[in-house]
Assembly symmetry: C2
Homo-oligomer: 376 residues x 2
């Protein structure tokens, strides 16, 4: 079978509203659908500015935490059940939107996360779902997947179902203008990592490659501008679009080693998802160079540098990240050196991602990456 | 407001299945949705091969005609109402899929085309809608718009509503392998024209430009191959994807002068839509050169030739079309020279498209295009 004719299922919200000021269209959409009791899932910051949504009669759960865990989800579901909503609105970054997906399918279903985790196990959703990202990174607004950390195992439990696809995504870059420079950098690199990992995945598909490469180019062009000046609406819009394209990549292709190796930084050491990805991304891009040299070269070009060897790739990608003022050493982010071996084993076990990395990475390869990153 | 942050609403079927053999997934999708009485809208050719859909219990309306008119639509709606379907399946080219959209919203609604034509006037749809293209051209499978010719006025009546968006589009390039070379060429140029006109429209948007340019490149790369060898599955898949991207362009941006000037060829002289577009496309690309020189240059490059003047653009685009064996003279397609003036007035009146052409075209400009095309 040829690459371009290979079967691919693409899921995306049937309606996506993108651009400056589109948040103002939420109220009329809800009115059209006769929705009167929306439930907002948000984080502590965004919970203070739900007035931007321009709606009334909503209940807000404002406690979505970074890297949400099972107790956090259960609290959100309980809050939703108490007010019998007819719509769930995710308003925040990936954490709020992932929680919103699960709240929308769990609320009133009598089921637990355990009952629906994995693939296609959620029952039909009984309420509308709207996603409104306030960062440009996760791409969660266009996807069908949610990740919840299980405190018992420290693993991320993945749940995926077409039932978790939003009816409407509103991507208004104005909402991202308050994101501080360091978080802008980290989330932008996360969006880019989604694109890069899908582009170089064993499951890559020409149809998704087009989004991936455009997403990487947008980050290369606009991330430096948005970090320098958070009010640069053109740069903010470019990054919101890159995050959207990254989300498109996640669905049918998904990430590979970069995300797998980043996860223990989040689950074990509470490093924010975007920062964790930034710390690991250059090392994985370099490690994969030998397996996918042409695609790696295209990634580097899209980010604005030329690289022909693994060493050059690592240097260039690290310089790209350091250019935003990110401290790239694991050691400076509270990771104890003594934990690296356990982390390497944990990352290696994430087969759902690592099996699609363009080259095999043994526990020792992953440990070597952590060790290099430790003092980067 | 910057170009990239300008608001844009994108509608697309939440589920798109693309690639070789995806037609085999229809039956299980219908079973999952508990659909037992599907109604197939098709043309005479595709009506003979509905066994490819692998479903049972369906009723088929197999009389969708090219450039469907109001009586054709009314017949299809009556046939649907007689069997109270729980799903409508468009199986064919643009005509079958446009009719399917309207059947799905009109069936059982007690309304006529007149009641719902225009923008957002259709009532909520009561049955599922699945679109399965068998040509690579129209892109109707991803859109919310249907065109029906009113015999009273010879105009195309446009109806557009989110209610006409399919729940599922299955784009299986294998279904297009039987399309003969000349129709492959004409439909491929139609897909390309959707991309080119959206790309150069006054309403163009960077987000849609990315699809448009990729669609043009795919046609440039694969149309010559598919015309030469209809069984070249890679080329067929590339063109199916280009048609899909063309459909994505139609929604929020739409076509401009090329389609407006082509319409009278179809409505008045029954020239197939794709052929009509091919005959007119080089002239409009050349006429618009002065207004959008950079974008015109990118279009020419994507099609495989360089052109710096309007004259070169016309020559290059005509050579591209003639390369497929298309006879590019209006005179050879049964258009009487005496009709050109009336046609020019009719085309000029299609303001919904012409108002977004990158330059103003007077009736005399359109007539000049018809006259040049007459003996091209």
């Amino acid at each position: 079978m040829t690459a371009i004719s290979r079967p691919l299922e693409m899921l995306r919200p049937a309606m996506v509203r993108f651009g400056e000021g589109t948040i103002a269209t939420l109220a009329s959409w809800l009115a059209e659908k006769k929705i009167s009791r929306p439930f907002i899932v948000s984080d502590t910051f965004n919970a203070t500015r739900t007035d931007l949504l321009g709606i009334s009669g909503a209940t807000t759960f404002g406690k979505a935490m970074p890297e949400p865990d099972l107790p956090n989800l259960m609290e959100a579901v309980a809050a939703a059940q108490a007010c019998a909503p007819d719509a769930v609105i995710g308003f925040g970054g990936g954490s709020a939107m992932d929680l919103a997906k699960l709240v929308a399918v769990l609320c009133g279903s009598g089921k637990s996360l355990h009952d629906i985790s994995g693939l296609n196990r959620a029952s039909p959703r009984r309420m509308a779902l709207i996603q409104i990202p306030t960062t440009a990174g996760t791409g969660s607004e266009v996807g069908t997947r949610a990740l919840i950390t299980d405190p018992a195992t420290m693993n991320k439990v993945a749940t995926e179902s077409p039932q978790m696809l939003a009816d409407l995504a509103i991507i208004d870059p104005v909402l991202t203008m308050t994101v501080p420079p360091m978080i802008t950098a980290a989330t932008g690199i996360d969006a880019m990592a989604h694109c890069v990992e899908a582009f170089t995945s064993k499951r890559s598909h020409p149809l998704i490659d087009a989004y991936a490469l455009e997403g990487i180019r947008l980050v290369g062009r606009y991330l430096p501008r948005a970090v320098r000046n958070g009010s640069d609406i053109e740069a903010r819009a470019g990054l919101s679009l890159a995050a959207f394209y990254g989300g498109v990549c996640l669905g049918p292709v998904n990430t590979t080693a970069g995300h797998a190796i980043s996860y223990p930084l989040g689950t074990r050491h509470k490093i924010a998802h975007g920062v964790a990805n930034a710390l690991i991304f250059p090392h994985v891009l370099a490690a994969n160079h030998e397996a996918v040299p042409e695609k790696t070269a295209l990634v580097c070009q899209a980010l604005g540098f030329e690289a022909n060897t693994a060493h050059d790739v690592l240097e260039g990608a690290q310089a790209f990240c350091k250019g935003f003022g990110l401290n790239m050493a694991l050691s400076s982010h509270g990771v104890p050196e003594s934990d690296l071996e356990t982390m390497a084993k944990e990352a290696h076990a994430i087969r759902r991602l690592l099996d699609f990395n363009p080259r095999e990475l043994a526990v020792s390869d992953i440990l070597a990456i952590y060790r290099t990153a430790y003092r980067a």
